[in-house]
């Protein structure tokens, strides 16, 4: 049986890609290695009664056109807002950032009148820049080395876009692209905890610290979710992140796509210069007009295609492409809510994020540990309690807590083993317990995921949550390699649609959609 397209990997981008191809009338088959779809966007009942968004845990960047085109709400997607962030401070106080503008202003004023004044201007500036960058997220990157009319036109369009921003905004955007988040925030604010908490979103998923140039851009990348118009803020999917994948999968099926789970692809079949299908682990061969890979560039080209079918300079570029997984995840099943010393009892703060980022130095020191091959002794953490918003995630009266932790280097000295994993889990719990002393006794179960675990379970190389670092030299027309950033590959009939292509990570779906557009353009 021959398909028009086979999509390797049932992560959210693969599913989006399949849905769009199926919507265009193509006969599509999605092959997912695990027993469930979603890739890193899955909900699992890790401990009886306790459900976790095991890996990716917040939704913010999902493209509005995808939500519309695939009618995701109609397929069960429901986003619950996550509106506040509190940062506990070592002196027993806290810094809150609230969804309500006036409440937020009063809170900031308490810490720094100057920052309270600057905050609105900052918000406007970031809003403008996010708007300036958004069209680029929805754009197929032109190839600057090509002389083809479509590429020259693309470059022209791109330069016109930047020129139209006007000098001032262009310069502001240029600074944002090249500065460190610490330097960038220093220009706006004086309060250390505020800068640290904001800067933290600039380091997520990268092996860089807040003082490393290039992190200011990642800050913007994460800011986009806050302005998308469709969702006012970051949020949880009801039923966990897996519900996003399930909704996309349902949409894809409705358009006629087939999804096979438990189907692990062993290799991509190549005849001459053309991909003709795939071979599964157990030997089954499936033919298709095109093969689309939703898994990362290293897995795709080095493992499934093989170097012998690819040009040397391309293989070299893929091998140079940096993953450097730097984050881990600790999922806790709790018998009671954590009681934070800075804000005792149950309150609205537990419905938002809790950021362990008391100062820029704190986060930078966490990075220092990782640079030299250790996990952070006192890590940066983004903590949420999904059961506070979606009670279905835990048994009555009990709770689930998700801790995104940085830094945990994939290449930890001596390699990851059980002892080191537990030590890492202890560092996380000990750090949190400093701010919420009842935490240790509240823990019923704990799941610790190192980058090595993330790689093992999801297949993401080196456990990098974005299928490759979001560093300047790996973005746009360089993602994942120059001349092959337009979802095409050196092999005819083989495409990429994962986060390893422009515009990259987060539950955005843009790579999957843009790849589908290009595949259809090629008349596959």
């Amino acid at each position: 049986m021959k398909y028009d397209a086979i999509v390797i990997g049932g992560g959210h981008n693969g599913l989006v890609n399949a849905a769009y191809l199926a919507r265009a009338g193509k006969k599509v088959l999605v092959l997912e290695r695990r027993e469930r779809v979603g890739g890193a966007a899955v909900t699992e009942e890790v401990f009886p009664g306790f459900k976790f968004s095991v890996f990716s845990y917040v939704v913010s960047l999902l493209r509005p056109e995808i939500i519309r085109d695939l009618d995701l709400p109609g397929h069960g997607l429901h986003i619950l807002p996550l509106e506040s962030t509190i940062t506990p401070l070592p002196n027993g106080d806290y810094l809150g950032q609230w969804g309500d503008h006036d409440q937020n202003r009063r809170e900031l004023y308490r810490h720094s009148p100057r920052d309270a004044e600057a905050y609105d201007d900052y918000g406007r500036e970031m809003h403008f820049m996010a708007k300036a960058v958004q069209p680029i997220l929805g754009m197929v990157p032109p190839d600057p080395t090509s002389l083809a009319p479509s590429d020259l036109l693309g470059l022209l369009r791109l330069s016109r876009h930047f020129r139209n921003l006007g000098r001032e905004q262009f310069h502001a955007l240029y600074k944002l692209m090249t500065m460190s988040s610490a330097d960038f925030l220093d220009e706006w604010f004086e309060n250390d905890a505020l800068k640290a908490t904001k800067s933290a979103s600039g380091i997520i998923g990268t092996f860089l610290g807040p003082r490393s140039p290039g992190t200011a851009y990642v800050l913007l990348h994460h800011y986009m979710g806050e302005i998308d118009g469709v969702f006012r803020a970051w949020g949880f999917a009801k039923g966990g992140t897996g519900a996003v994948s399930e909704a996309i999968a349902a949409a894809a099926r409705r358009f006629g796509a087939q999804i096979r789970t438990g189907a692990s692809v062993a290799s991509v079949s190549v005849k001459g210069n053309r991909a003709t299908g795939v071979v599964l682990e157990h030997g089954e061969e499936i033919e298709a007009g095109v093969v689309v890979s939703g898994i990362d560039p290293r897995q795709t080209f080095i493992n499934l295609v093989g170097e012998k079918h690819l040009p040397d300079d391309f293989t070299a570029a893929i091998k140079r492409y940096k993953f450097r997984g730097s984050s881990g995840k600790v999922n806790l099943a709790l018998s009671e809510l954590p009681d934070f010393t800075c804000l005792p009892g149950v309150g609205p703060h537990l419905r938002g994020a809790i950021s362990i980022s008391p100062s820029l130095d704190y986060v930078e020191r966490a990075y220092d540990d990782a640079k030299y091959g250790a996990f952070s002794r006192r890590p940066y953490m983004d903590v949420v309690i999904p059961s506070m918003i979606d009670p279905g995630m835990a048994p009555p009266g009990k709770h689930v807590m998700s801790c995104f932790v940085q830094y945990a280097p994939f290449d930890v000295q001596g390699g990851w083993d059980d002892r080191k994993r537990e030590a890492f889990g202890d560092a996380v719990v000990d750090t949190l317990a400093e701010f919420a002393p009842n935490l240790k006794r509240a823990i019923l179960h704990r799941q610790v995921l190192t980058p090595a675990d993330i790689e093992r379970v999801t297949g993401l190389s080196e456990g990098n949550i974005f299928q490759g670092e979001l560093a300047l030299h790996q973005l746009f027309f360089l993602r994942p390699a120059a001349s092959f950033a337009k979802y095409r590959t050196p092999l005819r009939g083989l495409y990429q649609c994962g986060a390893g292509t422009h515009p990259g990570g987060g539950i955005m779906g843009a790579s999957g959609r843009l790849a589908a557009v290009e595949i259809l353009k090629d008349g596959a």
């Binding site: 600057p144 080395t145 002389l147 330069s159 930047f162 020129r163 006007g166 000098r167 001032e168 262009f170 310069h171 240029y174 600074k175 090249t178 500065m179 460190s180 330097d183 220009e187 860089l208 003082r211 490393s212 140039p213 290039g214 140079r320 940096k322 130095d361 930078e364 220092d368 640079k371 030299y372 560093a471 300047l472 030299h473 027309f477 360089l478 120059a482 001349s483």
Partner: protein, 481 residues
């Protein structure tokens, strides 16, 4: 009346003055210091400036160091890299045959990128928002040149400029000492470590104008030649003339007021002092927009390099020596600076002139987080430098007869380097090209009509002698014509 006043008799100020005089302007250079203090300058002098000012005739000389660097090897001996490419390959082969094989390809690709940068450096920074046909043609010309250099070069340009020097080197080489030599070039005079993005650009910036395979600049002797050249073209150089203020009338620069109380009128003023000193220090604040003031205050001038001068009883056995065995050593040295401390094991690059050794020591913060610079701290730094150099060059320590330690704070106080930063602003990606020193001044103009900037604070910045001055003079002549 003088047509133009140039503030500061450094290389850039004098070059600006000489070019203005060459175009028939009556020029006066005002310099606070009474005599030329620096005997040598390190950097690249664009050949055009060199020729136009006839600098050889005025006594400027250079002997490129050969080897251009030597660095102790962990197993003893030194890795030496030479002006001659094949000689360097031989040196590298002794420590890593693999790296030796890659050296010619690497240096060729870096040289190509440096040549592209060079075409950007002898002209005002590109103005991406200009609607003038001439500027659009210039941009197209650059694009064309990049394309002609080949696909690989375009990709290198886009990919390498924002990279960290460590990532660049990890792509190519395996030997620690070799990587540290290049890595130290990537962090020179910048408050970043080798893992920081943009440091690959710094390596290239300092490579512009050097022969292929040479990543350190020569020292020019007889720097007085710049003053001679300016005088020969009719420039008046007044020393001991400290400028207290720039006189602004009706929004236009009208001259300067000296500390002596004297006022000198002029139709244009060019300042080679740094941006903050010029605009926030010498111009009355009411002439400036608060947003502009904020931008100038945010220029990063985090001086991190101390200068230690050692006098030895006998000339040492090296010309240039690097103490920084690995990239990790450099990164750890930077870690200290992040938290406002002197590196406990700093990177030292020493240059011998006869029996005098000039050591650039990085990272030494301008402002310490704990305590303030005083003599005991200065002495401790001096001791550390002598010890580390002594470890690298056996027998050196006991031969030190005198030493002078200048921290960035001292360099600020003595030479007026803002924040102790030699280049009047770090060469980070957000402070180069059209961003340097701030976008509003990128074309050497300021918000005050008739007041120009011509120092290292402007494009292309430090390490390139006279290019800022040359570009500024051209901007001024275009503007007053």
């Amino acid at each position: 009346m003088t047509d133009a006043i140039v503030i500061g008799a450094g290389v850039n100020g004098l070059v600006t003055a000489a070019y203005l005089a060459r175009a028939g302007r009556k020029v006066t250079v005002l310099e606070a210091r009474t005599h030329q203090e620096r005997a040598s300058e390190i950097g690249w002098i664009p050949p055009r400036v060199f020729r136009d000012l006839d600098l050889v005739r005025h006594g400027l000389t250079v002997t490129p160091p050969d080897p251009w660097i030597s660095a102790p090897l962990p197993a003893g001996g030194r890795l030496e890299l030479w002006q001659d490419l094949s000689k360097s390959v031989e040196s590298i082969r002794r420590v890593s045959p693999k790296d030796a094989e890659r050296w010619p390809r690497f240096t060729e690709r870096m040289a190509k990128l440096a040549r592209l940068l060079e075409t950007l450096y002898l002209a005002p920074p590109p103005d991406l928002h200009s609607t003038r046909v001439s500027e659009l043609l210039r941009l197209a010309g650059f694009g064309w040149r990049a394309r002609r250099a080949g696909k690989e070069t375009i990709v290198d340009l886009l990919r390498i400029l924002p990279m960290s020097v460590q990532e660049l080197l990890d792509d190519w080489f395996e030997h620690d000492t070799l990587k540290a030599i290049l890595g130290a070039g990537g962090v020179s005079h910048i408050c970043e470590g080798p893992r920081s993005g943009g440091t690959a650009f710094v390596l290239l910036h300092h490579h512009v104008g050097s022969p292929r395979g040479v990543f350190r600049r020569a020292a020019w002797k007889g720097v007085g030649a710049f003053e001679e050249a300016a005088r020969a073209r009719g420039v008046t150089v007044k020393r001991g003339a400290e400028v207290r203020a720039i006189v602004v009338k009706d929004g236009r620069a009208a001259g300067v007021a000296l500390a002596s109380g004297e006022t000198l009128p002029a139709s244009v003023v060019a300042s080679s002092a740094d941006t903050a000193r010029t605009l926030l220090g010498l111009v009355e604040a009411s002439w400036l927009d608060p947003e502009f003031v904020r931008a100038v205050q945010h220029i990063k001038t985090r001086g991190v390099t101390a200068r230690v001068k050692l006098t030895l009883a006998k000339a040492p056995d090296f010309e240039r020596l690097l103490v920084a065995p690995t990239l990790e050593y450099l990164e750890r040295a930077y870690d200290d600076a992040k938290y406002g401390r002197v590196s406990s094991r700093p990177c030292i690059e020493a240059r011998a002139e006869g029996s005098t050794v000039h050591a650039d020591v990085q990272y030494v913060p301008h402002t310490l987080r704990e305590g303030a610079w005083d003599d005991p701290r200065r002495n401790a730094l001096g001791d550390l430098v002598v010890k580390l150099l002594g470890d690298a060059v056996p027998g050196l320590a006991p031969r030190v007869t005198a030493r002078e330690v200048l921290t960035p704070k001292d360099l600020d106080a003595r030479f007026g380097f803002p924040g102790g930063h030699l280049y009047h602003g770090e060469l980070t990606l957000d402070q180069i090209l059209f961003m340097r020193p701030v976008p509003a001044c990128a074309h050497y103009v300021t918000p005050v009509e008739g007041l120009y900037l011509c120092g290292a604070a402007t494009h292309p910045g430090g390490g390139i002698l006279g290019a800022s001055g040359f570009n500024a003079a051209r901007a001024m002549l275009g503007g007053t014509r």
